[in-house]
Symmetry: C2
Subunit: 206 residues, 2 copies
Amino acid sequence: MIKNKSLTTRDIIFQASVELFSSKGYHGTSIRDITGKVGIKESSLYNHFIGKEAILDAIMDYQMDVFNKAVKALEKLKFTDADNITDPVKFWMTGADEFLKYMDPLSELITQILINEMFLNQKCRQFYLNTMLLSQKKLVKTIFTEMRRKGMIKDCDIEKTASQYVYMLQGLEIENKLRAMEGEKTGKIQKHLFEQITLFIQGMKK
Amino acid sequence: MIKNKSLTTRDIIFQASVELFSSKGYHGTSIRDITGKVGIKESSLYNHFIGKEAILDAIMDYQMDVFNKAVKALEKLKFTDADNITDPVKFWMTGADEFLKYMDPLSELITQILINEMFLNQKCRQFYLNTMLLSQKKLVKTIFTEMRRKGMIKDCDIEKTASQYVYMLQGLEIENKLRAMEGEKTGKIQKHLFEQITLFIQGMKK
DNA sequence: GTCTATAACTCGATAGAC
DNA sequence: GTCTATCGAGTTATAGAC
């Protein structure tokens, strides 16, 4: 959607809603906020979405698509490019990059919306649990299984270890995002993230 | 506050607000919701709080107090009761229990409010980063340091490992809370939590 | 400290002209 | 598909009687 330069009004409403919902919250964002940002009147919005909730539904459909594509792609991947890599940290980073290809800035904001709403909205809660968290665990498990097959990491409960990794990464990313919002330098944040990932993967080394 | 049976109107408003903010969100909760639950008229609320935001401020002050007390108590603790414990997992659980003494059901709900609001409200974001997350890391570090001193765990970067533990526990607790809201049985949830903590602490064993 | 009454405003949504 | 105009309900907050 982002690559397409001829955006429809619906697309522009969608994008503006993602930005506003993520920064002001779903309840904190009014139809007036959205249409004001888009440059149309409130009533015009109803030609594209039947109501405010329909926008949130569309946002979750979009995110579901992103994750489904990423999971499918990584499961098909043969890791042939990484055949010559023996260092687990390097191998991990290669796999993680493959996944990040499917994430766009919109997806990142949608994740933020889901965290904002998961305790408040059942649809968001179920999506977070059954799609987002599940996909992330699947993706991590896929790479860990491949690393185990290659004998790069020691024997462990891959299911539980993948869960731990997802929780850790989520915690790190939330903290980093919040620190960035508070004006902390991204360089320091990136370094911190890399160090923590390295520590985790090295702990799995043989 | 909970133990005191002669609650003031202000206390009842406070408690009702915590419950409503955590389940419906700050923006999703109206003054009418709060006063309706308390059993007073909207206007009466303004005799106890200057406005809606002042209630949220009071909630954060309360949580700050809870964490400050927990950190102070654990830092003073001499771990004498745990002298005869040699198993790291058992030692850890004893220390974690000490911390849990200071948490009440209200504190748990306030944590939920903070997660809901951390991306939306700067005061909540700063409180989450500088008080809650920092206190939790301090608490974990205190116990890990004691375990290291006793030679129960291998040499490691305690600062980073404590961060990883906090992230993991937070991720687990969020997922568990969400699953409980979706009707999953608490027994299964508790078992899962215990297994993950055990796996983490055992990974630190000598 | 509680109440009634109400101000002043914003909310999501609709009807109907163009 | 956009607009103007408007609705009814809900929002925080205040004034003033008791």
